[in-house]
């Protein structure tokens, strides 16, 4: 059996665990990203996280933790800028995005052994996920699940009609910043799996497909989680069998499903 063989290895078990936890994140946060139309912001946050990852490497600390730090700071920065409205939001995203990438490449180059790791962060390497990564990813996923459970009606109101939400006293600005911070956490976790360049695809494709076939937000989220898990598992299996890059295989699996579902639902 292919699957038994596949699960013998520790790194495969870690990869699968991390991938499944990430699907839960994608399923929930991805829907909010789509509904709030913050796809570009999320992509910007992913790229900006690279600056923090580079800094972590350079200083010899955990790159993932530094990546999360810089992603959250960028998310809050963009959130604040857009509320002050001196600089337009997409301009701010462009600046943060490029600066983060430049910093990351510079700092990684200055550290030793950059080439392999650089590739891993840009294009993802789910097979390099360690036990402690899995633990970190699971804890973050649980925290975000709890937040969404507690603030479900608030996030729904925010996503549907922020102007009305503010008028009836919802703390719109704080909730928006919290949502962006949650996106930042999710994005960094996904970087581990599919890499900075392809994060946005994994964040949006499951939700985009699920949204077309499901009714009601909870069902769409569940469908999206399910699809994410399928993409990660199939992508991982194919990449293992054919010895091709895991991140790209996962994204291609997702993209193929997306195009197929688009064509079929016509």
């Amino acid at each position: 059996m292919i699957e038994m063989d596949f699960l013998q290895y520790d790194f495969m078990r870690n990869a699968l665990a991390a991938g499944l936890a990430a699907s839960v994140l994608c399923g929930i946060i991805g829907i909010y990203v789509i509904l709030n139309k913050i796809v570009f912001i999320s992509d910007g946050i992913a790229h900006a996280a690279f600056g923090g990852i580079g800094l972590g490497y350079f200083l010899g600390y955990d790159p993932l933790a530094f990546g999360i730090g810089s992603a959250v700071m960028t998310a809050l920065g963009i959130g604040m800028v857009s509320s002050r409205a001196r600089i337009s939001e997409d301009t701010a995203i462009g600046v943060f995005m490029a600066t983060g990438m430049a910093l990351g490449i510079m700092l990684l180059t200055l550290s030793q052994g950059y080439a392999r790791d650089l590739y891993g962060y840009l294009f993802g390497n789910i097979l390099a996920v360690t036990r402690s990564d899995v633990l970190l990813i699971s804890v973050l996923t649980l925290i975000i699940l709890a937040l969404v459970f507690l603030l479900y009606k608030e996030f729904l109101l925010l996503s549907f009609d922020p102007i009305y939400a503010e008028a009836i006293g919802l703390p719109v600005q704080s909730l928006r910043l919290l949502l962006l911070a949650m996106v930042a956490f999710s994005v960094v976790i996904l970087i581990k799996i599919v890499g900075i360049i392809m994060v946005i695809a994994l964040l949006t494709i499951p939700g985009a497909i699920s949204r077309r076939h499901m009714k009601g937000l909870p069902a769409i989220m569940a469908g999206s989680i399910f699809l994410g898990a399928i993409f990660v598992t199939i992508g991982l299996l194919i990449s293992y069998e054919l010895d091709v890059p895991s991140g790209a295989t996962i994204i291609l699996t997702a993209a193929a499903t997306f195009f197929l579902s688009t064509v079929l639902s016509r």
């Binding site: 549907f160 009609d161 503010e166």
Partner: protein, 253 residues
């Protein structure tokens, strides 16, 4: 006994050193139905936002039910200017109406059976109970607008603020919509402030009318004189041409 629902005295709002609202005075009592007209950029939406406590006045005082506006929010319903939303947003009409319970339910609490009941009642009040489980995007413009009114009613408001609610709704639906407001005002005793462009359309329904362009032209009645309107709009405005049976303009001697 007759508590003022809205009491605004000498209120100024300035932005970037220039006045958006200038020395506004306004009092509304129970069961008033005020039509607020005025040119674009005249501050109508700003005045509503002040009444909701979203904008703090620079000078003067405002009390809603004798309270600061932010504290009175749970007693006020609000229908924003044509709600812009994703027409494929995955919520049912009932879910949208439930959103209006937020001010009663509060942060972190879930909606309960009472909230659901109130939402169904609010939908029934606007004649939309049979659409409760339809997706909001599947409803017509006029039906969506009714759902948004139901959303503002679901918290049992004593004052309803509507910001050009009929924009983008066809004229047959508009008439229905105004009839609905009339019913809410007369039968349920809800005080209403209706911002509109269309004086002739609303004059039949309101019992007071005011014109706003930085300053508020208001005589605590359903009459405005020609001079008021001309001052507010900055040019002569022809309105009597439509021959409305209910006089809006006082005749000049």
């Amino acid at each position: 006994m007759t508590e003022n629902i809205v009491s605004i005295k000498g209120l100024w709002v300035c932005r970037a050193e220039h006045a958006v609202l200038e020395d506004i005075n306004l009092e509304l009592h129970a069961a008033d139905f005020l039509g607020l007209i005025g040119p674009n950029g005249g501050g109508k939406s700003t005045l509503l936002k002040v009444m909701l406590g979203l904008i703090k006045p620079d000078r003067g005082s405002i009390a809603i039910f004798g309270l600061p506006p932010a504290a009175a929010r749970s007693r006020v319903g609000y229908v924003p200017q044509k709600t812009v939303f994703d027409q494929s947003f995955p919520v049912k009409a009932l879910d949208v109406v439930l959103m209006g319970r937020y001010s009663r339910t509060g942060l972190l609490h879930r909606y309960g059976r009472m909230d659901r009941q109130a939402a169904l009642q609010a939908l029934a009040a606007v004649g939309m109970e049979d659409r409760a489980l339809r997706e909001i995007g599947a409803l017509s413009g006029g039906e969506q607008q009714r759902v948004f009114v139901a959303r503002s009613l679901v918290s049992d408001p004593e004052l309803l603020l509507l910001d050009e609610p009929t924009a983008g709704v066809d004229s047959a639906q508009q008439t229905d919509f105004y009839d609905l407001l009339c019913h809410l005002n007369r039968d349920l005793g809800i005080a209403i402030v209706l911002v509109s462009h269309d004086i002739t359309a609303i004059s039949k329904y309101v019992n007071k009318i005011a014109c706003l362009n930085q300053r508020l032209y208001y005589h605590d009645s359903k009459e405005l004189c020609n001079e008021d309107i001309e001052k507010a709009y900055g040019c002569p405005v022809e309105m009597i041409a439509h021959g409305t049976p209910h006089r809006v303009l006082r005749e000049h001697d």
